[in-house]
C-alpha cells in the first residue's frame, strides 16, 4: 500500500501526499517510508533525494502572529514561482488526545496548486512540534516543494528543538513582551536566525527592537537581524522574505549512508515489535527469569537481542 502511495506521490497526486503525511505523523510505516525516500542507487550522490527545500521555522508565543505572518509571506514566495508547503503545529490535549487545529484559516483560502497547508497536532513535551517531522519534510521535498514553512505551537523560552528541522529559525516577538532581562536568558533567542518584532504598529515596538538588538550584540557569535513587521499596517514583509532567503541554510542534510542506516534502524524496531507480539515462548521465559532476578539487566538485554536477531 505504501508503494502504491509513493507511486502516486511521485506522479504529483496531492491526495497521496496528504495520506502519507498522516501516516508519517502517526508513526505508521516509518521504516518503509524511510526506505522509499532513499535516493536511488544510481542517484545523485550523498545529498539525499534530489529536491531540497528551504525549511523556515516560525516560533514565538501564542497570539504573536505566526500564522498570520505566514499567510502574508505565501504570496511573496509564489511571486517567485516557488512552491510552498506549510506545516502548522497546534497542541494536542494531554487529557483527551483531541486538538483544535486553528492556524490555516489565517493563511488565506487559496486553491493554488503551488501551496500545500497541513495542520498537525503536537503532543506536549516535544518542543512545540509534531512528531516525525524529518520524514514529513522529506515527503514534501520529494513532492517538489521549494520552501517549507514550519509553524511551531505557540511556544516559550526553551523550545529549541525547532532548530534541528529547519534551515532558518524566525522568532516572533511583540512589543511590551518583558523587560530587557528577558532577552538575556538562554534558549530560543540564541537559536533565532532572524528576530521579527511583529505588530510593530503598536507602541513600544522601537524599544523592544532595541532591547533585542542590544541583547544579541552582547553575544560573540550571533548577529541575527532584527526586523520590524506589521501585518496590520502591511509593512516589512518583503524585506523579511528577502532576509530569510539570503540567510545561510543551517540544516544538515543527511548523507545517503545515514538515511539508509536510519531506514534500517526503523525497520529493525518494527520487526522486533512484530516478534514481541507473537508471544514467543523463549522470550517469555527470558523475561520471567529476569523478573525473578536470575539474570542481570544487561545480560537479559543481550540474550533478548540475540533471540530477536535470530527471529527477524
Amino acid at each position: 500500500m505504501i508503494a502504491a502511495l509513493f507511486d502516486r506521490l511521485r506522479q504529483g497526486d496531492r491526495n497521496a501526499l496528504a495520506r502519507l503525511v498522516s501516516q508519517a505523523a502517526r508513526g505508521e510505516h516509518l521504516g518503509e517510508m524511510q526506505a522509499a525516500l532513499l535516493p536511488s542507487p544510481s542517484g545523485r550522490g550523498a545529498g539525499g533525494e534530489g529536491n531540497c527545500a528551504r525549511v523556515v521555522a516560525f516560533t514565538g508565543s501564542g497570539g504573536v502572529g505566526k500564522s498570520t505572518l505566514i499567510g502574508k509571506l505565501i504570496p511573496l514566495v509564489r511571486e517567485q514561482n516557488l512552491k510552498v508547503a506549510v506545516l502548522a503545529c497546534d497542541p494536542q490535549s494531554p487529557l483527551t488526545g483531541g486538538a483544535l487545529l486553528g492556524d490555516r484559516f489565517r493563511m488565506g483560502n487559496s486553491t493554488d496548486d503551488g501551496v500545500f497547508i497541513r495542520s498537525l497536532a503536537a503532543v506536549s513535551g516535544h518542543g512545540g512540534l509534531a512528531e516525525h517531522l524529518d520524514v514529513i519534510i522529506r515527503l514534501l521535498e520529494t513532492f517538489g516543494f521549494d520552501v517549507i514553512f514550519l509553524e511551531t505551537v505557540g511556544s516559550g523560552q526553551g523550545d529549541v528543538d525547532v532548530r534541528k528541522y529547519s534551515d532558518v529559525v524566525a522568532l516572533l516577538v511583540q512589543p511590551e513582551s518583558g523587560d530587557d532581562v528577558q532577552w538575556e536568558k538562554a534558549g530560543i533567542l540564541e537559536c533565532a536566525d532572524v528576530v521579527i518584532v511583529h505588530k510593530s504598529d503598536l507602541p513600544g515596538a522601537d524599544q523592544t527592537a532595541a532591547q533585542v538588538r542590544a541583547a544579541l550584540d552582547l553575544s560573540m557569535a550571533h548577529a541575527a537581524p532584527v526586523l520590524r513587521v506589521s501585518t496590520k499596517a502591511n509593512t516589512g514583509h518583503a524585506e523579511l522574505w528577502q532576509t530569510i532567503q539570503v540567510l545561510p541554510a543551517r540544516r544538515q542534510q543527511p548523507t545517503a549512508a545515514r538515511l539508509l542506516f536510519q531506514a534500517a534502524l526503523d525497520s529493525l524496531g518494527q520487526r522486533f515489535d512484530a516478534v514481541e507480539r507473537t508471544r514467543d515462548a523463549e522470550l517469555e521465559h527470558l523475561a520471567d527469569a529476569w523478573r525473578r532476578g536470575e539474570s542481570s539487566t544487561p545480560d537479559a538485554i543481550n540474550s533478548l537481542l540475540r533471540i530477536l536477531t535470530q527471529r527477524i
Binding site: G98, R104, F105, R118, A121
Partner: protein, 133 residues
C-alpha cells in the same frame, strides 16, 4: 490505539454566524478528535482543497444562510472530482425539512439541525468509517 479522526469544519458562502460551529468544534476536540477549523467565508473550492491537504475523514459544513441548495451540491461535486468522495459530509444549521432528502441523495451523511445535542454529533462521528486507501 485508535487514531484520532480528522474533521474539517468550515462555513461556506457569505454567512458570518460562527458561534454554532465553534461550539461543535470544541465538543469534537474534547471527544478526542483532531478538528481543523477552516473558518468563515470559504468557497467550495477552498473547502475541498482543505479536505484534500488535511487528509480529513470528515467535513462538517455549517450553513445558516439559506444557500445550502447551491453550496452543498457544489461541494459534493468538487469532492467527487478531487477523488475524495469517501469523505463523510455533515451539514449543520438551518436546513428546511423539504431539502433534507435532496441533500441525503447527494451523499450527505447526516444533517444536524437546531436543538441537536452535542452528544449526538460526537457519537455519530465516532463510529468507525471505511476509507479507500
Amino acid at each position: 490505539m485508535d487514531q484520532p479522526q480528522r474533521i474539517v469544519l468550515a462555513k461556506v458562502g457569505l454567512d458570518g454566524h460562527d458561534r454554532g460551529i465553534k461550539v461543535v468544534a470544541r465538543a469534537l476536540r474534547d471527544a478526542g478528535m483532531h478538528v481543523i477549523y477552516a473558518g468563515l467565508w470559504q468557497t467550495p473550492e477552498a473547502v475541498v482543497r482543505t479536505v484534500a491537504d488535511e487528509d480529513a475523514d470528515w467535513l462538517g459544513l455549517s450553513l445558516l444562510s439559506g444557500a445550502h441548495m447551491t453550496l452543498v451540491p457544489r461541494v459534493m461535486e468538487l469532492l467527487k472530482q478531487a477523488g475524495l468522495a469517501d469523505t463523510g459530509v455533515l451539514v449543520g444549521g438551518i436546513i428546511p425539512e423539504a431539502d433534507m432528502p435532496k441533500l441525503h441523495d447527494l451523499g450527505v451523511a447526516k444533517i444536524f439541525g437546531p436543538g441537536t445535542s452535542l452528544d449526538d454529533i460526537v457519537s455519530f462521528v465516532q463510529k468507525p468509517r471505511e476509507r479507500t486507501p
